[in-house]
């Protein structure tokens, strides 16, 4: 197996206290990415809009529900860069990248690293 990067998302989200994913979906069962079973790692980078921390939760699963999650906080100054690395323990079809926090704009990008069969 070799690896190959894939840009999964680039965009700006207005973060609010209510949790929602980076596609601005509030429905907790809605996936952000589908057909992502080949992705073995996610590199989430971007710039925060204010000093307030942003809580994030990344869920992974499939149509039967979420089976794995990782939570944390994105901390840093306004206009400061952040990076979150996610390496799920198994292959999952669906992922949901959810954020919540004090109102601020979150400009970010998610790159997935896929396994490619040679």
């Amino acid at each position: 197996m070799r690896t190959q990067p894939l840009t999964l998302y680039v965009g700006t989200l207005q973060v609010e206290a209510t949790p929602k994913d980076i596609l601005n979906q509030s429905e907790p069962l809605a996936p952000t990415f589908v057909n992502a079973a080949s992705v073995r790692a996610f590199y989430w980078t971007g710039v925060k809009g204010s000093n307030a921390p942003i809580a994030y939760t990344i869920r992974a699963g499939d149509a039967n529900g979420w089976q794995w999650s990782q939570s944390g906080q994105i901390v840093g100054n306004a206009r400061g860069w952040f990076r979150v690395v996610v390496k799920p323990p198994a292959a999952y079809d669906w992922y949901r990248v959810e954020v919540a926090g004090a109102p601020q704009a979150l400009r970010s990008k998610i790159t997935g690293v896929e396994e490619v069969v040679e």
Binding site: P5, R79, R83
Partner: protein
């Protein structure tokens, strides 16, 4: 100052056989030794040369390309690579004392940075005897662009290259 002109082929040979000076990225792990020993669990399937050339180091923070314009990257298109290595040597008969720092950022589909400024990845001080090779490992990969800056209180001419490796997935 003793100048020495070498070919790219000669430089590659020296990269393989030359002794390695120690250089540590602050807060980041550093490994020393032969290239094969650098990645005991990680068999690289592809290695790319992202930059190669010479840099006139002085008291200013300069990109390896020589500029002092902080918005300009040193290398671009580095998204596929797990880690980068900076190797080289400084001309001259005096001991080498060069400081370097690594900055990184992400860009959108159009190549525009997501935000202003850079994220500092790490820094190192390279202290070696004259004409000794050094190598710095930059393990935080998958950023789109990097700016590698150097400076030296004593002006030095540094010949170096930046290579990047893309590995097989660690099983």
């Amino acid at each position: 100052m003793n100048a020495e002109r070498i070919t790219r082929r000669e430089m590659l040979k020296r990269l393989i056989v030359a002794p390695v000076g120690a250089a540590a990225l602050a807060t980041l792990p550093v490994r020393e030794g032969a290239a094969a020993a650098l990645q005991p669990y990680y068999e690289p399937y592809f290695v790319a040369v992202l930059w190669e050339g010479r840099t006139r180091c002085d008291s200013l923070w300069r990109s390896l390309k020589g500029d002092v314009v902080a918005i300009l990257p040193t290398v671009q298109g580095a998204t596929p690579y797990d880690r980068l290595y900076w190797t080289g040597y400084a001309l001259g008969s005096a001991p080498v004392h060069v400081t370097m720092r690594v900055l990184a950022r992400a860009v959108d589909h159009n190549g525009v940075p997501l935000g202003a400024g850079w994220r500092p990845i790490g820094q190192a001080t390279i202290q070696t005897p004259p004409q000794r090779w050094f190598r710095v490992e930059i393990p935080e990969g998958h950023w789109d662009e990097y700016r590698i800056e150097v400076r030296s209180a004593t002006p030095r001419l540094v010949y170096s290259r930046v290579i990047a490796s893309q590995g097989y997935w660690k099983e």
